[in-house]
Amino acid sequence: MSDRALRGVSQVLCAAGIGISGYLTYVHYAGLQPVCGISHGCETVQTSAYATLLGIPVAMLGVITYVVILISLRLRGERPLLTSYALTLIAFAFSVYLTYRELFTIHAICSWCVSSAIVFTLLAIVGSRRVLHFNYAGAGAAPA
């Protein structure tokens, strides 16, 4: 798959992530209960102490992360690539940590949060492939 196609996939994933995190940010500030499907744990997770970081809703941090990754995907060159990859890895690792907290500390599963974790996992996979095939001697990604 070409770098252009991989960037396209990443952009679609970011759009999905913005939708998920944006919804959770909206229900947080609107004081609503998130629609939760079969897991029924969204409210428990969203009102837990792990739903905020330094007073900022984690969902909002997710929106910001997705948007920054999306912007860096639109830029060419090594620096934007590595920036988006670093952000993706940070978000992926943090979503693994939050999923651990859901399972073993909060004892509830938020399907929206799991969906976002899956999106970050896919972004990390696509990002790894892009970074490994990037032509560091030249100015762009080598076609795969």
């Binding site: 004081g31 409210e43 792990y50 970081l53 330094l54 001697a137």
Partner: protein, 262 residues
């Protein structure tokens, strides 16, 4: 001549091959440096973020930290009539009585998982009224919280208080139900006269309310929490054992009773 040209071409090819190899090696080193830098930055940021999040998780209301769900709870009950231990309109066609201990983890599960949707869909719409009978058998913390809940009920703010209690519940009988913890919950209840509530919680009437709830539970054969009685407003109530502490089984029971009421 041909031989000399051949040697020159071979030398040029060898030089080009060496240059390509050097470029390739430089690119590999550059890639390693770049990825090493990215991974180091990622490790540092993730470690810091996880440390901050873990500290925040420990610093909840129980340990004197942030109170969970105050805004959510306030909006959940805003505008819904409360009278003593009852939430909802007096003419609601269906009634639900809940027997619960404020330290009980399963009561917490019901309150956090099921209650918000039930309040939104059935109580706010005037279809169901809910009554809270506060049992206090788990330990001293249950009694202390129960007395404050009774005081909140006197000001018709019981449901706000118990919801905050469940949203911030700690380990049962771990000593977290301190006067300062209860004070913080009361401070987050909209429209509550906190000094009056604190005075009322120390009065005999608060203890009498707990005794009364225990008496009602004994009369109704309740021996576990949470327990529920459900029925039409103008009819007998029957024990209800939900298949799970989510909103779905309660909603199904409410819908069945509401259909019969028409």
């Amino acid at each position: 001549m041909t031989s000399r040209q051949g040697r020159k071409a071979a030398a040029r090819e060898a030089r080009l091959a060496q240059e390509a190899e050097a470029l390739s090696a430089a690119a590999a080193r550059r890639r390693q440096r770049a990825l090493g830098g990215v991974l180091a930055a990622v490790i540092v940021v993730v470690a810091a973020t996880v440390a901050i999040s873990s500290a925040g998780g420990r610093a909840n209301a129980v340990s004197g930290g942030r109170l969970n769900g105050a805004a959510f709870s306030a909006s959940l009950f805003a505008g819904i009539p409360q009278h003593g231990t009852i939430l909802g309109k007096a003419n609601a066609p269906v009634r639900l009585i809940e027997f619960a201990d404020l330290q009980c983890p399963y009561c917490d599960e019901y309150s956090v998982q099921a209650l918000p949707a039930l309040v939104r869909d059935y109580v706010r719409t005037g279809k169901v009224s809910m009554q809270f009978e506060n049992l206090s058998f788990i330990g001293p913390g249950s009694v202390a919280a129960g007395r404050v809940a009774a005081a909140a009920a006197q000001q018709h703010r019981l449901w706000n208080f118990i919801d905050l209690m469940y949203l911030n519940q700690g380990e049962e009988n771990s000593g977290y139900v301190t006067p300062s913890y209860l004070r913080r919950l009361l401070d987050a209840v909209p429209g509550l006269n906190v000094p009056a509530a604190l005075r009322a919680s120390a009065a005999p009437s608060a203890a009498a309310a707990l005794t009364q709830a225990n008496t009602v539970a004994t009369q109704d054969g309740v021996d576990a929490t949470p327990s529920f009685l459900i029925g039409k407003a103008k009819g007998p109530l029957r024990p209800f054992q939900p298949s799970s502490l989510t909103s779905a089984p309660f909603a199904a029971a409410f819908n069945a009773l509401l259909r019969d009421s028409r």
